[in-house]
């Protein structure tokens, strides 16, 4: 059993991460998911959320948006549509997006097509703010 997990995170625009890590906590679609070395092969969908990985004693947080995690032989592949590390998040922009989404949601009824779009936007913005808040830790 290897002692480290090889984490690879890719989005359609670039390869975000390729690192050796000790532990990964991913936002699985049926709940949070902790991955340690020696994990059994797994394929799961992710929801919008916060992915945390630990290297030694340092933790890193990434806001991810919809994707997959594949675990095979201590290689963890994360395929996501967007991935933003905590220190790359523009807090002001995220807050503005949150405000916009909240405004739009007030006006729309639950039947509107746009409602779900805005709801997703709201969720993303909230996650971004949450992750950005962990920057200093």
């Amino acid at each position: 059993m290897a002692e480290k997990l090889k984490l690879e995170m890719v989005t359609p625009y670039k390869k975000v991460l390729s690192e050796e890590v000790d532990e990964i906590i991913a936002p699985g679609v049926v709940g949070e998911l902790g991955l340690l070395p020696g994990h059994t092969p797994l394929l799961t969908t992710l929801k919008v959320g916060e992915l945390t990985y630990r290297k030694g004693s340092a933790s890193f947080h990434v806001a991810v948006n919809w994707g997959y995690v594949e675990v095979e032989e201590d290689a963890v592949t994360v395929l996501v549509e967007t991935a933003e590390p905590a220190d790359e998040i523009d807090l002001a922009r995220a807050k503005a997006a949150l405000g916009r989404a909240e405004e739009a949601l007030k006006k729309l009824s639950t039947e509107d097509k746009e409602y779900r779009v805005m709801e997703a936007a709201l969720e993303r913005a909230m996650i971004r703010i949450q992750v950005a808040g962990r920057k200093s830790r």
Partner: protein, 288 residues
């Protein structure tokens, strides 16, 4: 003397044209670099997704998913990727020709074809053709490709496929090799044919969350989106490459023409001077 003036004018026009073609070449070169980077950046994601799909395929493909199933071959959709603008050599016409050939040869035996075209030029070239209905045209999206645009296009194709508007989908685009080399490529988008890798990797029982079927449900449409995204990026890079090389040869031709015209101009000037001298000398002779 009128002749001299004419030649000078010609040289001026050719020089102007050369300046334009040179500028276009520079612009294309800059855009090409960016497009090329985008193609390279998108590769890991597409490769990984294909990998995940193939590793799933090698295990549990007995699951019948509508996007994997071969249907009766009635109508096929061709997704033709061209550019919005011309002046890029055979870029657009090659694609149009390939699409026409594909429909004419009909090697897979479909009853009819529908076309969805990306890019204004492709529409212009293909709308005159009879026998294929142009379903939709997407214009002005190749300027800056975002994943969201490609995803939208892909989702539309997938949902129309599911509602059985067509029974197979092919994509025709220019694959980018290098700035001077593009290759017209036809690929099948739907039904999806997963590439099952021959090398027998360590086969383990996967845990699927929430379930294998649900994971497939979300991964297959995604795969189509990514294929479309990649094709669009490749096509854009190819377009700039094609334009760059055709503008380069246009600039070279202009330079050659300027050389020829300058030679002609100098000859004419010399001839004019000689005749003038002859006139003066003969005039002086006659006074003596």
């Amino acid at each position: 003397m009128a002749n001299l003036k004419d030649i000078k004018k010609r040289i001026g026009t050719v020089k102007n044209t050369q300046q334009i073609t040179k500028a276009m070449k520079m612009v294309s070169a800059a855009k090409l670099r960016r497009a090329q980077e985008a193609v390279v950046a998108a590769r890991p994601y597409a490769d990984k997704l294909a990998e995940v799909l193939s590793s799933m395929a090698s295990r549990e493909m007995e699951e019948n998913h509508p996007l994997l199933e071969q249907r009766e071959k009635k109508t096929a959709l061709l997704l033709v990727v061209t550019a919005d603008r011309g002046l890029c050599g055979g870029f657009n016409s090659n694609i149009a020709k390939a699409a026409e050939a594909f429909m004419r040869e009909n090697s897979q035996g479909f009853e009819s074809y529908k076309l969805r075209i990306v890019g204004r030029k492709g529409n212009e070239l293909l709308k005159r053709r009879q026998g294929a209905a142009i379903d939709k045209v997407y214009e002005n999206i190749t300027g800056s490709i975002s994943y969201a645009t490609a995803a939208l296009l892909g989702q539309e194709v997938v949902s129309d496929y599911e509602s059985e508007q067509f029974d197979a989908v092919f994509i025709i685009y220019n694959r980018f090799h290098s700035a001077i080399n593009q290759e017209v490529t036809t690929a099948q988008l739907l039904p999806i044919i997963p590439e099952i890798s021959e090398e027998d990797r360590y086969v383990a029982d996967y845990i699927y969350e929430p379930s294998c079927g649900e994971v497939l449900d979300s991964i297959l449409p995604k795969y189509v989106e990514v294929q479309v995204f990649r094709a669009l990026l490749e096509s854009v890079a190819s377009e700039h490459g094609a334009r760059m090389s055709s503008m380069d040869s246009a600039s070279k031709n202009a330079a050659e023409m300027i050389n020829k015209l300058t030679l002609k101009y100098n000859r004419a000037r010399q001839a004019a001077i000689t005749t003038e001298l002859m006139e003066i000398i003969s005039g002086a002779e006659s006074i003596k």
